[in-house]
Each structure stands twice: as C-alpha cells, then as structure tokens.
C-alpha cells in the first residue's frame, strides 16, 4: 500500500508547531505528527491554531481542509503557489477558449464509462434490471455527446447520467439506502449524506493534487470558471467519483458496515453521518485512494490518488502539446 500522508482530526483540540513537528493537543494529551510525513490535514471538528502554525505547514506545502461540526466543508488553507507558470496559464486560458467543448465532452464520456464499469459488476451478479441503463451508457451517451454543440447540452447529458445512476440504486442497494432524489445542501437522507461527504472528500483531494502542478485552479472546462471556486478540481474529480466515492459507498452499504440506525445522526433525520460513521467512511475512502495497481502505460505501480495528479499532467499535455485529453478510465486502468 502506498504511504498515507493524510491526517484526519476528529476531536476538538489545538494544532501547534512544536519544534519541527505538528502537535495536536487536547485533554487526552499531546500527539505529534512528523511534518515530512504529512501532506494533507483534515479538521473534522473544532480545532484552533495560530498563524505560526499556518506558516509552518505552508512552508512544507501542506493543504488543510476544514469542515464544520455538521461535516460540511468550510474551505481549505492553501499555501502560496510554488509552481507558477504564466505561460501555462495563458495556454490554459486559450484551451478554454478553443477546446472547451472537446475537453468537457471527454470528462462526461469518462464519467459514463466509469459508471458503466462499476455497474457492470452488479449486472454480472444477476442485477439484470440494470441492462437498459448500462446499455444507454455504452451506446447512447457517446452518440449524444457526438452531436452536442454547446456546453449546456453537454451538461444536460451529464445530468441525465447522474440522475439515471441514482435511480438505478434501487436494484442493488438495501431498501433503507434507496434514494428518492438527490438533495445536496443539506442532504435529506442517508445516501445523500454519503454522496455529499464522499464527493467533498474527493474534491479536496483533487485540490491538493492540482496544487502540486502548474494548473490554474479556476480555469475549468466542464464547470463554468465563473463559479469562482476551484472549479478545475470539480472537473478533474468527476471521472473519479464512480471509482472512488460510489464504489466505497456501495461496498460499505452492501456489506452492512454502515447502517442507518447506527451510523447516522438520528436527531437530524439520519441525514448526516455521526462520528463513528465518518470514521468508517474515511477509513474505507483512504484505503481505496491509496490502493495501488499496475498502470498500463507507465508500467509502474500507482495509487488512485496518484492518478488524480496524473490526470493533471494529462491536462497539461493537452494544453501545452495539443494532445487529446482522456481522464482516468477504470477499465483501462490508466
């Protein structure tokens, strides 16, 4: 397993610099994290820190993601850029002007292919009701994308892919996890809570990966750069959602490792994970991110997490060298 450089903090306490280590202290005592073995910090509870601490982690290039008490994402501490290329930013903008549709289509196509790959597993295991949807993904989506001329049409196809995907849950998930509809802010049932939490974790992972490239976080292709967020992270995380977020959810729910009555907050109508639920989810999520396999093209072992950065490199190649952009495909393992 690849080395894990992500630290999650679940309890209340204080983060400090202690000599050249990160120290976390609460009433239970002091815990030390070696700085060189940390790349990302997640604060899932109320944590205090000072500017000396922020300066310390900034110089080590660590990004810190902050979540509020309800598990909603508040934002990231993003150290000042260390890889800056004005030239690449100009080329990235030119790609947006000239190649936006092509790149956006390749992202949506990758979503469809990866969902197909994930669902095909259930289809093979006797969930024959999935047939119309997986056929649609395989045959209709490519031709729909082929004729789309506008970004709005591409976004419509993407919306269709996801909403049909959510509809298909009823064929293979336990009844108490079947959703009526996708509701985001705030989620209104357990499955929505899992999707929101998982997507946010993946989004923050993508932010941290892109940080270590020259790409400009705000120039995106599928999502509108006007959204004013790190919208490129939204773009690059899309193809990984079926692979990382949904496979983790299906696995935990299918094996009953996550249960509605035990792992969700009852006082909020089970629409949020409780602390134990979050821990179970994060463990499984991290394990999947760090799972390694042989990359077909590079012929070396890589983790899914590393693949996020590799997709950044692919995009740089598209921008600089005009090569076609193909996001990570689960079937091809590259």
């Amino acid at each position: 397993m690849a080395k894990n450089h992500t630290r999650y903090i679940f309890s209340m306490g204080e983060l400090k610099r202690k000599d050249n280590s990160i120290a976390f202290s609460n009433e239970k005592g002091n815990f030390y994290l070696p700085i060189e073995e940390t790349r990302e910090l997640y604060c899932l509870n109320e944590v205090s820190f000072n500017t000396k601490f922020l300066d310390f982690i900034a110089r080590a290039g660590i990004t810190m993601h902050i979540f509020n008490y309800h598990g909603n994402y508040s934002g990231s501490f993003y150290p000042k850029e260390y890889l800056i290329s004005g030239d690449l930013t100009i080329k990235q903008s030119l790609s947006f002007v000239n190649e936006r549709l092509v790149i956006a289509k390749s992202i949506v196509s990758a979503i469809a292919q990866n969902i197909h790959e994930v669902l095909y597993h259930y289809y093979r295991h006797d969930k024959k009701e999935l047939k119309p949807y997986i056929d649609w993904l395989k045959n209709d989506v490519p031709s729909l994308l082929h004729v789309t001329m506008k970004v709005e049409q591409i976004l419509f196809v993407e919306g269709q892919i996801w909403s049909r995907f959510y509809d298909s849950f009823k064929y293979f998930l336990p009844e108490d996890f079947v959703m009526n509809k996708r509701v985001k802010r705030p989620p209104d049932n357990p499955i929505n809570a899992l999707i929101s939490f998982g997507n946010t974790l993946l989004y923050t992972k993508t932010i941290a990966s892109i940080y270590h490239t020259h790409l400009n976080q705000s120039i995106s292709f599928l999502h509108s750069p006007r959204e004013g967020r790190f919208s490129l992270s939204l773009d690059l995380s899309e193809a990984f959602k079926p692979v990382i977020v949904f496979k983790t959810i299906f696995d935990l729910v299918g094996r009953k490792k996550l249960q509605v009555l035990k792992h969700f907050d009852k006082s909020l109508n089970y629409a949020l994970l409780n602390e134990e639920g979050k821990k179970i989810f994060i463990d499984a999520f991290e394990e999947r991110m760090n799972e390694t396999f042989l990359h077909v093209k590079l012929k070396r072992k890589v983790s899914y997490k590393h693949c996020l950065k590799l997709d950044g490199y692919k995009l740089i190649k598209t921008i600089v060298e005009g090569r076609e952009f193909t996001p990570f495909l689960l079937k091809e393992k590259m």
Binding site: N20, E36, L88, L298, V320, E321
Partner: protein, 162 residues
C-alpha cells in the same frame, strides 16, 4: 538567459531542457528529496549555503585558481563539462580568468575531480550550443521523449510517459 542547469539538462535530456525552460517544473515524487527539502526549508538555524551569484549563474565555490562545481555523482560528466564551460565563459566576460574543477562527492567513494579549461575551440563550440538551446526552448512544443534507463529516476517520468 541560459543558466547552468539548462545547459546541463540540454546534454542530459532535450525534453527535460524544454520543460524546465518553459517553467514546467514538476514536483519531485521521491520521498527522500521531499524529506530533505522540507527539513532544510523549516530549519532556520541552518545557515544559507555559501553560493556565489554572478548574474544568474550560481557558483558553488571559487578559489584563486579554480571555479569549483560540486556534484553528487559522476553519472553525466559531459553535461557537467558544458555547465562549467558556461560558468568560465561568464566569468571571462567579467574579466575573471579561472580553470574549472568538478568535484564528485559520491557516497562511500573517494572524491574525484576533473579539470576543465576554456580554450578557443570549446568556447566556439559553447557559443553554438547556446544558440541551439535557444532554438530548442523557443519552439512551441517539447521534443517527444525517448525512453531510456535514466528516465526511470527522473521527476518528469510521469509527465513524459503518461
């Protein structure tokens, strides 16, 4: 302005040279490098490495007789030779005459050194190399990489072969 690193890269690998010149420097994936960098970065006690800077050329060490270039390994002596010639040439432009000396400090090995002098012949060759580098790095796209053994350890490996 062509730097020592750039001329070194030119002889080591043209793709690397283009990418570096066009400011696409990738994060080094090697854990050792990161550990070293992070520790160096955060330890304020450590004094700044004694480097001499002339224009945009950073010189490791300069003595009465020699300009000294320190290298960890002797894996690419040709690339180092041209790097040193560039330094000698720049120094000559400032009216400073030196001979070049490359010291290889390899782990568990004795220090080896090599003397390089800037004469008319290699000065002429250097000028045409500088011209060739300018042509290379101003071309719109990088040259396609060819896989070699040295690629395996390179920070650009992922970028080149993805």
């Amino acid at each position: 302005m062509i730097t020592g690193t750039l001329i070194n890269y030119y002889f080591h690998c043209r793709t690397q040279c283009w990418l570096h010149a066009n400011r696409i420097n990738l994060e080094d994936n090697s854990e050792d490098v990161r550990i070293g960098k992070v520790l160096h970065e955060i330890s304020e006690e450590k004094a700044q490495k004694a480097e001499v800077k002339i224009d945009n050329v950073k010189i490791d060490k300069i003595t009465k007789e020699y300009l000294v270039e320190l290298k960890k390994s002797d894996s690419d002596p040709e690339a180092v030779k041209w790097q040193v010639l560039l330094y000698l040439y720049k120094l000559r432009g400032k009216g400073i005459e030196r001979k070049g000396k490359v010291e290889y400090h390899e782990k568990n090995h004795n220090t080896k050194s090599e003397i390089i002098e800037l004469d008319d012949a290699n000065e002429k060759a250097l000028l045409s190399v500088l011209e060739a580098i300018t042509t290379l790095i101003t071309s719109p796209t990088p040259p396609a990489p060819k896989f070699e053994n040295k690629c395996k350890k390179c920070a650009y490996f992922d970028y080149c072969f993805i």
